[in-house]
Symmetry: C2
DNA sequence: CAGTATCCTCGCAGATACTG
DNA sequence: CAGTATCTGCGAGGATACTG
């Protein structure tokens, strides 16, 4: 499917994959720590991490040259997933937890909760749903 | 899992579900049109639409009182998924298509492409990844 | 610790046929 | 048109045991 939604889902659309990325953004680095936090089976975790590395979303690095310990770290492509995660967290917080969710994302300095993501025109003006269009083809996002 | 990411994925984390929402945001309304656009099997589509309605993301309405034709429409909860979709589209466009993707999201008035989503502090100042913290527990997004 | 290597199952997706 | 109903498979995901 020639659609950025489908293509993105191809790389991160899997349940476990997004949870791995969530944990990575929270500073998790090692295989075992990912495994304990997500509760995923080891073979599945191996495969998911492998795919993430293949897709250039994470890299696998030795912690020290002579020991078999590894860190998984997000690449720039992986870090760029942050807005997706934020959007997901904010939606879940509002619509599942009614604004009282267990997780806040805060400004490190002021400790204040960050704003809901807003959609902005090229000049910075906020746009509502109705002011947006998908191109090309008003109802032709999709497929081929 | 008591985590807004997991909870959100519970409701929209499925491959087909997000594609349905993508199409709904593009104005698709009827069962058959969803089916043709996504290529999903009918029984699966039935189930997915049913779940979306159960979860309050879409509603099913008769087009006219006496005929068995229906429209599926996004609720406010469903429309609120827009930032997630936008974030996904923008990521796919940049990191899969290298900025030359097949889909642009434009300001209906000016026809200009909208900005990449930015993360903002309470005062509107844009925040980088490093300036964010997840609370509570620096590395404790997660679970229970 | 950081994985492989197997085995097993069950549930989801697909296909097809049918209905108001 | 807008679905239900049924069958069927296959493959992702889990559990467990093993390894450098």
């Amino acid at each position: 499917m020639n659609c950025p939604v489908a293509q993105t889902l191809e790389q991160i659309g899997d349940w476990w994959t997004l949870l791995i990325i969530r944990d990575a953004l929270n500073g998790v680095k090692t295989f075992t720590e990912f495994q304990e936090r997500t509760g995923i089976a080891k073979n599945i975790l191996t495969e998911r991490l492998g795919t993430l590395v293949e897709n250039g979303i994470m890299v696998r690095e030795k912690t020290r040259p002579e020991v078999n310990r590894y860190h998984y770290r997000l690449t720039a492509k992986g870090e760029a997933l942050l807005p997706i995660l934020i959007a997901i967290i904010q939606w879940g917080d509002q619509w599942v937890y009614g604004g009282e969710g267990p997780l806040r994302i805060v400004d490190a300095k002021s400790k204040e909760t960050i704003r809901p993501l807003t959609i902005q025109a090229a000049d910075g003006r906020p746009l509502s749903r109705a002011e947006l269009r998908f191109h090309p083809g008003s109802a032709a996002t999709t497929t081929a």
